[in-house]
Amino acid sequence: MRRVWSSTETLAALLLLLPLLAVPWAFKPYAANVLAVYMIYGILALSLTLIWGYAGIMSFGQTAFFGIGAYAYGAIGLNWINRTQQTHAALVGGLVAAALLAAVVGYFMFYGRISDVYASIITLALTLVLFAFAVSTGGDEWVIGVARFGGFNGMFGQGESSQNIANFQIPPVTVWLPGMAEPFQFKINRESAAGYFLVLGASVLVYVVVRWLLRVRLGRVAIGIRENEARVASLGYDTRFYKFALFTIAGAIAGLAGILFAAWGRFVNPDRFGLGFASSTVVYVLLGGRTSLLGGFVGAAIIGYLTSYLAEIVPFATIPGDATPWMRFLMEAGRRIVREAPLLVQGAVLVGIVLALEDGVTPPLSRLLTRYRRWAWWVLLPVVVLYFAHRVACLQADWCLF
């Protein structure tokens, strides 16, 4: 038997999952909010890793399926929530819509024998077309039932009473199964971290499913296609079908991320189809490591943290009034550079990793962990557990040591 699960992986899972499980009790709710978004972006990045890192199909526009999932969830959710008090249909609908779009595009690309580079451009064009479409739907006429597309604003619902028209928002994920006293609702606030755990659970689930996919025939053939498509075809595999199937599955995963995003902010707008978001997704995967399933999560967390940190701190640092003109110039230059740092970092990551052929940060980290496994089991893991235990005690019961 091949070993499916190594002790290093158990260790890594513990090191990641234990803190993540403790976050809602160990930090203020904003931390859970932000981590939830990083995980949502991580799921999106994972879908790109699946088809790019493992099947060699580069999709510049994976965000198209993310956006479609979010919009479909919004449209169905807005129409159904008042009737049924739950969003089951919206969840399924979002997944189906994303998978369907991916299937259509995948069919056109792979069965139309479009070369790899063109395929990348087509996916990019797809997301930009959807962007152009989404921003042009601001008018009253763009409706599905009570759901307004809203153009640049993003999607919202609209109801009519006797005198006026009022707007309402996309509903949170609401699961209400028979036997439940009250519905499960996606929320991340001072009272509840249900949404956070939903996102965490979805991340783990997607990770496990993709890992399993890569073990079965579909995944092995996909890796074969990445290595040498002609060879795999000559073994009797219809490579077009496998690419098509994998692309569809990846589309559905991206759609799931989109659904969670819409539920997280109760909001989706055309920017999800935009060039900036598309390039961020590629950067997450490149930085995290395109052959590592965790890479996307790591990349999303690093870039996400960096971006918000810089947006929060730097633009408003004040230049002292008594600075000399030279100092003023240097400080202003530094400030501007740091203000644009998210863009500069993204560009540098793309160019740097491509030129240096690096794996991204996750594979080296996992090699380190493998090498110092023993040390990590006995020192790192207890330190992490103790730190989080202390955070929880400090925040919940004011038992703070420092």
């Binding site: 074969g224 060879r231 000559s234 009797g236």
Partner: protein, 243 residues
Amino acid sequence: MPERILEVASLTKHFGGLRAVHLDLTVDAGELRCLIGPNGAGKSTFFRMLSGAMRPGSGTVRFRGRDITGWDAFRVARLGMSIKFQVASVLEELSVRDNLHLAAEFRFGNRAGQRRAAAMLEVIGLTERADHPATWLSHGEKQWLEIGMASVGEPALILLDEPTAGMTAEEMKKTVRLLKRLNEAATVIVVEHDMNFIRMIAGRVTVMHQGEVFAEGSMEEIERNDGVRDIYLGKGSHYVVRR
């Protein structure tokens, strides 16, 4: 009279204004056929057209009684034709076992495919390296692995494009034994440069020149053919003792 497994009629391919292949050829079931000819004779192009990797310009290919002209590679493979490419193209990042498993799986399914892959590991002598990534293998080992991949699915016809390129004399002997063993179950067509190898496998030989069949016969007949000497740049003994 043996069954004709492969019938090729006026198969042509042009590259720009240049005619690369114009070919008629038949192969009987159970044969071990050698295809030789100088560089640029169109041997690899011919193989690529047979296996579906390249679309022919005109002409027909019949395989096991069916017209497979212009079929996609995977359909040709499913009908029972497999190929080892000229440039060793194993799946570098997959383990040796996974390479073979993948090749066996689509015919026999997952479980049986695993057993067949294990058996084939024995045949090609790579059992000890089964869980290494294919990229760690030596050049010769990659060739064997690819021969193994081409034959593990029990095809009716195996096309081998230069199976001994870059092998030592010892490795070559092993390859000959392997080939003969494969030939017990399948028809084999081999493209080779190395005349020692051709002599050792002792099959029927077809000589290609400028995309056409130039001569055909046993190795002895071919070696006596002056025309064949001439097309190898007139250097009488060049092709007999290469290297």
